[in-house]
């Protein structure tokens, strides 16, 4: 571990806390289409209408057309459930048929949200059961080595399963099913088992359930629990988080900054969505993965290293606001410095060790080289080997394995096998490395780590002064500028009415506060 000036680290944390606090005011004052749909999902509404439109979309669109979504779906639904005696799902089906007008149940005052307790309780019970199942499966696991994380991305869930089973047989601990690239911009979660996707596979509840079952089976065979990852990102952050909580995903990519910068999603929309999604993940004990690593694919990994550190501090505070335990905060970073640069490994080592030292409880997610991977697969293997050494030697937790064909295609089965073998080898060879050396306090690694931390502190104070929204507009992350009024999904943001309630989030927060304080 590095010896750092704890005053600087505290100063970073404090600035990040103020930055997150400021954004939280906007979060608390608004709801969004996908948040309201998530509430419906956690009241037991799933499935689609005759035109394959998810029922949760049918209901929210119905309220937007006939009523006022700023009052929230609960405002209309609570009395409808009480008066008709029907479940929320039965009502949703009736709305889809045109048989029920939900806005008839409008009321001048706040409604009694506890009328929905009967619908909510079994859903929360399912999430608790899934959480217990995971915890008991993992309780005997002594996680000393980094967890090996590989992706599958064929577009066809059945083919994904074939690839995942092979990866598990070869030692993978974590399987991520990459989403079809367009999905983050869909304002709904598609339904059913799917066989067509580009660069990935649709995240649907059915696909997730099928993969979960396959990994449980493969894990049983291999004698260990295998974790499943998907993406609570894009325009349906909290809905995917809810599906993941119900279907026992173990990790979620979850970072609104990524959506803002790389998918041009409106920042207001996605910060609001991110909060509820993190509350759900915290409640379900799902580890989140943040996306700082991606900044370095557009910005220079050496010059802009401090933006990653600054963003990790901010993401930590956003997660803390959602009452997420530190052991669930998989903050992201990456090995992306130009291999032509002299001492590139030492700089990478410094950055990885800095993250490890500053966030000792976080299961850091460390990403392999991508930007400087080329069609030269033989050099690619060498690059990945150095990355694996940095991962093991600095004690990273979530080890996303690099693929030798990164610059060519989504991984073949053999690419993944080569990556797993390489990681295994490095893990064995470097196991005692950390304990065998003391870093030269005046050497390049320590000096570089201090420099990056100092630059991060300075950036955090700048952002604190100008505010997060302005900082993003100035292109402070990844050299990409986005503004408050721009981006996808803004039309789905609504200020909360005085009668607005979200009993699902309230129930989760109550439990989380009790757990954290107890």
């Amino acid at each position: 571990m590095l010896k750092l000036d704890s005053k600087i680290v505290e100063s970073c944390r404090e600035a990040a806390r103020v930055i997150a606090e400021d954004v939280q005011k906007t979060i608390d004052a608004h709801t969004t289409d996908t948040i309201e749909r998530t509430i419906l999902r956690l009241l037991g509404v799933d499935g689609a209408d005759a035109f394959d439109v998810p029922l949760v979309n049918v209901v929210i669109d119905h309220i937007k057309e006939k009523g006022d979504l700023s009052k929230g779906v609960v405002h209309y639904l609570a009395n409808a459930v009480a008066e008709t005696g029907a479940t929320p799902k039965a009502l949703a089906l009736a709305i889809a048929e045109g048989d029920v007008d939900l806005t008839r149940y409008d009321a001048p005052e706040k409604v009694d949200a506890s009328l929905l307790d009967d619908a909510m309780a079994p859903m929360l019970q399912t999430i608790k059961k899934q959480r217990l199942k995971r915890l008991s499966a993992l309780k005997d696991k002594t996680a000393s080595a980094p967890e090996k994380y590989v992706i599958v991305a064929t577009g066809n869930i059945h083919e994904d399963i074939e690839q995942a089973i092979s990866a598990v047989a070869l030692g993978a601990d974590i399987i991520a099913v990459i989403r079809t690239t367009g999905q983050s911009l869909l304002d709904y979660v598609p339904e059913g088992l799917t066989r067509e996707g580009f660069g990935g596979t649709y995240a649907t509840q059915d696909n997730i359930r099928l993969m979960r079952q396959a990994l449980d089976d493969a894990g049983k065979e291999a004698g260990r629990y295998v974790k499943l990852v998907n993406y609570a990102s894009g325009l349906c952050m909290p809905e995917i988080a809810a599906i993941g909580a119900l279907e026992r995903l173990d990790m979620m990519l979850n970072d609104s900054l990524y959506g803002i910068i790389f998918r041009d999603i409106n920042m207001k929309r996605t910060f609001i969505d991110q909060y509820f999604s993190r509350v759900i993940s915290a409640y379900a004990d799902i580890t989140i993965n943040t996306g700082e690593d991606n900044y370095l694919t557009t910005a220079d990994a050496f010059d802009e290293a401090h933006t990653v550190t600054a963003s990790q501090f901010i993401n930590e505070q956003f997660a803390a606001k959602a009452h997420m335990d530190r052991r669930l905060m998989g903050l992201g970073h990456a090995y992306e410095i130009d291999p032509e640069k002299e001492n590139s490994f030492l700089y990478e080592y410094a950055q990885a060790l800095l993250a490890r030292t500053v966030f000792p409880d976080a299961p850091l997610k460390y990403m392999p080289p991508t930007k400087y991977m080329s069609g030269d697969i033989f050099k690619g293997v060498a690059q990945n080997t150095l990355f694996n050494i940095a991962t093991v030697a600095t004690g990273q937790k979530i080890h996303l394995l690099g693929m030798l064909t990164e610059a060519i295609h989504t991984p073949f089965m053999s690419d993944r096998a080569i990556a797993l073998e390489n990681a295994d080898y490095v893990e064995r060879a470097f196991r005692g490395f950390q304990d065998a050396f003391i870093l030269n306090p005046d050497g390049l690694i320590v000096e570089r780590a201090k420099e990056v931390l100092a630059e991060a502190e300075s950036l955090l104070h700048t952002i604190k002064a100008e505010g997060m929204f302005a900082a993003i507009a100035k292109g402070r992350f990844a050299n990409v500028s986005r503004t408050l009024a721009q981006g996808k999904g803004l039309s789905g943001v609504t200020p909360k009415h005085a009668v607005y309630q979200n009993p699902v989030m309230d129930a989760m927060l109550t439990t989380l506060k009790e757990e954290n304080d107890g």
Binding site: S166, A169, T181, F198, G199, T297, T370, A407, T410, S414
Partner: protein, 252 residues
């Protein structure tokens, strides 16, 4: 030693025309002697009748990975081949800038994007952004050039819309990573869109990417294509010369 190309060429291991090559692939077969025989039989059909399986590894019960070395019996005569290139002799950044100053009345507008579902910006950034790639500055840094980079996952429709709005001279499309050749469909769709809107002749349309070359680009209806190891100066050289040839924005 004679280094002039012989007519018939074979791969080089350690002796001229020894034909030595390596091959690797996965078969959906158990890791056993029969699987190894199948791998060798495939190599023989590729023209490697004496292949040795130097490594085989189970990927799970159903799949095995093979590495083979052998002697290729096929030959190729390079004098019978022709490789079309967008630019025979690329100019340097400074030469491109001088060419623009000397031949055009206005700045040249390049608009670029990584289109369709492709989320990778590395290619378009390498060509367009200030910093460039591997020491080759991007178009943004060229005087006489206005470079607009729309980033990744841009729809074909939006790219055309922005190109019209900015009165672009050149449209640059990047396609980095592909799966089952989706990039070809997307590239074709853009040319079809331009033609349907009657805008094909309003722009130079250029495509670049790891799997792109000039011949493929021409086949798909593009003006030029650029692949690996080609940088901003290569793209710019072609574009300014071609725009000049077409008399666009040139001094009269």
């Amino acid at each position: 030693m004679d280094r002039s190309p012989s007519v018939n060429i074979r791969p080089y291991g350690d002796t001229k025309n020894d034909g030595k090559i390596q091959i690797s692939f996965t078969l959906p077969l158990k890791n056993d002697a029969l699987g190894e025989e199948a791998a060798k039989a495939l190599a023989a059909k590729m023209g490697v009748p004496d292949a040795h399986v130097t490594h085989r590894k189970s990927l799970d019960e159903q799949y095995t990975f093979y590495i083979l070395y052998g002697t290729l019996t096929h030959v190729v005569d390079p004098s019978t081949l022709h490789v079309p290139l967008a630019t025979e002799a690329a100019m340097t950044k400074e030469e491109v800038e001088a060419f623009i100053a000397g031949h055009f009345q206005e700045e040249i507008v390049f608009i670029g994007a990584s289109t369709g579902t492709d989320a990778h910006t590395v290619g378009i950034d390498a060509i367009m952004n200030m910093k460039g790639y591997a020491g080759h500055y991007g178009l943004e840094r060229y005087s006489g050039v206005r470079a607009i980079n729309l980033g990744s996952q841009v729809d074909n429709e939006r790219l055309l819309e922005e190109a019209l709005k900015h009165e672009a001279d050149v449209i640059l499309i990047s396609q980095t990573v592909t799966q089952k050749n989706i990039h070809i469909q997307n590239l074709t769709a853009f040319i079809e869109l331009l033609e349907a809107e009657g805008r094909r002749d309003d722009f130079l349309v250029v495509v670049g990417g790891a799997r792109i070359n000039h011949a493929l680009a021409k086949e798909l209806g593009y003006d030029a294509g650029f692949g690996p190891k080609q940088y901003a100066a290569d793209v710019a050289s072609f574009c300014v010369v071609e725009l000049h040839r077409r008399g666009r924005k040139t001094f009269t």
